[in-house]
């Protein structure tokens, strides 16, 4: 009798492990349009109303916990923010004048404005799911194709780029964050030369990004802002409009810049704690919708 129980226990354990390994292998080797991925998206679609409901019901608990955490952090941030506010006020006056000049010159030269951020339509969404570990840099939000969201739409939080849409269903989307190991975006430093590079994550560290492929003699210093580069070359257009803030240069070691052509960038948004996002729906999505009967 005891032997039978032991055999049964071992058989079930082996079966569960084998099924897990088969799922892992099949999923890892498949394309995102494969049946296993489709089944998973279907379950997420069914599950998302429950998750959205739970997120709303539990939001007071979440808010209280975050309030305590924010209050503890707020005191140490006050001085830093006051200083930053003074600097930004001074910058704003200069930028307003430059904005007027820029508008006049753009009209005179006839620059292509079709890739500008004004052509994108922002859609608000709430975060309803998030993995607690550092390994999966994804969040789930409660808006989908029903609101005009499409694959690869850029996503903003705290006024800065945080990722793009990598899976979308009628009422739910998956946003992959800029710290995911597969992510890269063309970015430029707002210095006088506007040095451009490829911004990639420092995987395992959501507080750090690397701006790579920079010119070795670039004049980059700590504190300079990094924004999306954006480009249009014939029919090929960047997924992101130019000028979306991403972060600030946090370390610009001249040796690292000369030898590896890279500097470290700190994201502007708090990637672990934002609870709502803005998704920039793409210009062509509106055109496609307009043609529907």
């Amino acid at each position: 009798m005891h032997d039978k129980q032991v055999r049964r226990r071992r058989a079930v354990l082996a079966l569960l492990v084998v099924v897990s390994l088969i799922l892992l292998t099949a999923y890892f080797g498949e394309s995102p349009q494969s049946p296993l991925h489709n089944v998973q998206r279907g379950i997420v679609q069914v599950f998302s109303p429950v998750q959205a409901g739970a997120s709303k019901v539990l939001s007071p608990v979440r808010d209280v916990a975050n309030w305590v955490s924010d209050t503890l952090r707020a005191k140490s941030n006050v001085d830093k923010l006051r200083k930053q506010n003074r600097e930004l006020t001074a910058q704003l006056a200069t930028l307003k004048t430059e904005q007027q000049q820029n508008a006049q010159l753009t009209a005179e030269v006839g620059l292509d404005q079709t890739i500008g951020v004004r052509n994108y339509h922002p859609v608000g969404a709430n975060v309803i799911g998030r993995d607690p570990s550092l390994w999966y840099q994804q969040v789930e939000v409660d808006s989908g194709s029903g609101e005009g969201i499409a694959l690869n739409d850029p996503v903003l939080a705290d006024g800065a780029l945080v990722g793009d849409v990598t899976a979308v269903d009628a009422s739910v989307s998956i946003v992959t964050l800029i710290t995911d190991h597969d992510y890269a975006v063309a970015a430029q430093v707002t210095n006088t030369a506007g040095d451009q590079g490829i911004l990639a994550p420092s995987v395992g560290n959501p507080n750090q990004l690397l701006l790579q492929e920079l010119p070795a003699r670039a004049q980059i210093s700590v504190g300079q802002q990094v924004v999306t580069a954006g480009f249009k070359s014939g029919n090929l257009t960047s997924l992101y409009p130019p000028g979306l803030p991403i972060g600030t240069v946090s370390s610009a070691n001249p040796n690292q810049l000369y030898n590896n052509n890279e500097v470290q960038v700190a994201p502007t948004a708090d990637l672990r704690h934002f609870s709502s996002v803005q998704i920039l729906t793409r210009p062509h999505a509106a055109n496609v919708r307009a043609q529907l009967p």
Partner: protein
Amino acid sequence: MSAPSPRLVLRLALLALGTVVIQEAAISQVSIFGISADLTPLMVMSVGLLAGSLTGAVMGFATGLLVDTVLVQTLGITSLLYIAIGYWCGRLRELRDPAHGLVPLAAGAAATAVAGIGMTLIQFLLGVDAPVSLLLLQQLLVTILVNTLISLPVYAAVRRIVQPALPEDPRRRRRRAYTTGGLSPLQRPSQRLGQINRGGG
């Protein structure tokens, strides 16, 4: 070892679903010391300690699959880790039958460590080019600490839900008899004799 009752299966299914929903919709979005607590390995650990290795392993598999599905992650990774947690905690109960009240604390720390370190190892094996950053180690340690602190209340909550549906365990019944002053076959003969004499007047 009989098949689990439908009542137990229903309770475990609702427990898994409820834990995953609460974890993803609320706990994951609350920061404690810069990290988020993870209820799911603690729930699997508690089920293993209460219901045994087989139930623990099946619960681990189902919960892991649910977590991977809901978060659109690579299917099978979390299942694999949670099977190990549920099975080992169940074996701990079957082989040692630990009675100390702080056992869930140690088991919770071990379960969180297995989940964290196991996830790191599997990600490396799958080719994710992550450096072992200080932040990763720091997150792992702080998660273990936070999960250890909440493991006792999580275990108590799971026991409250699961225990009424569990079959009566003879070992637990015996232990209750010892602690309430009943006769124990392990008592020394002199003590037993004393008790009998006192009882006989």
